[in-house]
Amino acid sequence: MADVQVQEQSKGGKKKPKKGDARVDMTPMVDLMSLLITFFMLTAAFSKPKVMEIILPEKIKKNEKVEPPKIADSRTLNIILGPEDKVYWYPGKADPEVTVLQETDFSATGIRQVLLDRNRALFRKIDQFEKDVIAGKINIKQDSMRSAISQLKKDDDTGPIVLIKAYKTAKYKNFVDIMDEMSIVGIARYIFTDIDWIEEKLVVDAINRAAATPSGSAQ
């Protein structure tokens, strides 16, 4: 271990300690310490998980009478989270005779493109605003930047109103993914609601259709 040299000399009456090197070899200690430091640094940096905040509208109590909010059909976009990471969507109101669900997925060219096509004006506005802040054209503090963006979203009246629903075999991951897409694309108005029976039937139809034409669904 440490090479402290202590030599006993037992010849003669006089004891003369030999002049030795009293140094301790610190290399193993340094090795161990750097290992421990690396360990603690890495765990400190990576252990913190992130959170995503969502706010759901208050539940309507059974004995309470609340008028459902009226929303324009032309602006609504319905998204249904389907099984096996599929996403179905249709614009406007569900009609069991006419509505056909469009199928897409969570890739960058999937549902994000659909949302972006409808939310382009607002997305450009937010993007331009953020670029201006970075370039220094607009001098604004970090906290007021967030409120400025939410003001931009509030003033927007062209973007879609997205209604998100989940089919019974959807995964929790899909729910987080779709909420994510909302924040990536900067959708101003979106809400999570329960699926109704018409939509459930439409999803079943869409699954059956995909099963009937296996070659078509591969695309």
């Binding site: 421990l36 992130k50 959170v51 969502i54 997305f123 075999t169 991951k173 993914d177 924040s183």
Partner: protein, 212 residues
């Protein structure tokens, strides 16, 4: 030309300053490290682009494991002196006519693990030393309407610590109806703001996508 003679010196380096620095750094990292208790069930959280870090205190977490078991966890509050955990357990015991002893309450305070047992089995769970036995007892907190213990845990957690924020830590592959049920229970207790615990990933919108 005369040769330059190199002195026969030992090539040792004085490592003392380095060791000093390392010790300091090590002490710093050890002291700042927070040790989280081991999770009862492995939960793979989904990925999201959210960059908001998780809060350290004042949280109550509902864990949803892959096999649809539900766990509930709550912390002691921002200060250890507050002792929220034993208070909540005592309230819970009162409701089910179970008297918890001082020792049991203290043990519950110290172990920060999530509650995954029905309250009827809590005494047995706290008394058991064997980890296999503990795992066998963890059947998940009942959430069905006949005996909705999760709702009571949430109710008491909010009564005792009104500042507690609701967190949901669900496994990515949990089927959504289970999550919906948990959300419903939380909303019944007037919790409308949730934080979903996620891992960070990045996503970008390319220029072509913005172009029409």
């Amino acid at each position: 030309m005369p040769k330059i003679k190199l002195g026969a010196k030992s090539p040792r380096i004085d490592m003392t300053p380095m060791v000093d620095l390392f010790t300091l750094l090590l002490t710093f990292f050890i002291l700042t490290a927070t040790f989280r208790p081991q999770e009862s069930a492995p939960v793979d959280t989904p990925f999201s682009v959210s960059e908001k870090p998780m809060m350290d205190a004042n949280v109550m977490t509902v864990l949803i494991a892959k096999d649809n078991r539900v766990f509930f966890n709550v912390d002691n509050g921002p200060d250890t002196i507050l002792k929220f955990r034993p208070k909540i357990l005592a309230e819970m015991g009162k409701r089910y006519n179970i008297e918890f002893t001082e020792d049991e309450l203290r043990l519950f305070e110290k172990t920060g693990t999530a509650v995954g047992v029905p309250i009827q089995d809590m005494k047995k769970y706290l008394a058991s030393k064997d980890s296999d036995e503990k795992i066998a007892l963890e059947k998940g907190v009942p959430i069905d309407s006949t005996d909705n213990q999760l709702a009571l845990w949430i109710l008491f957690a909010r009564q005792i610590n009104p500042a507690a924020d609701a967190m949901i830590k669900g496994d990515a592959d949990v089927e959504f109806p289970v999550v919906r049920e948990v959300l419903d229970i939380l909303q019944d207790k007037n919790v409308n703001r949730f934080n979903l615990i996620t891992n960070l990933r990045s996503a970008e919108v390319t220029e072509e996508q913005i172009a029409e």
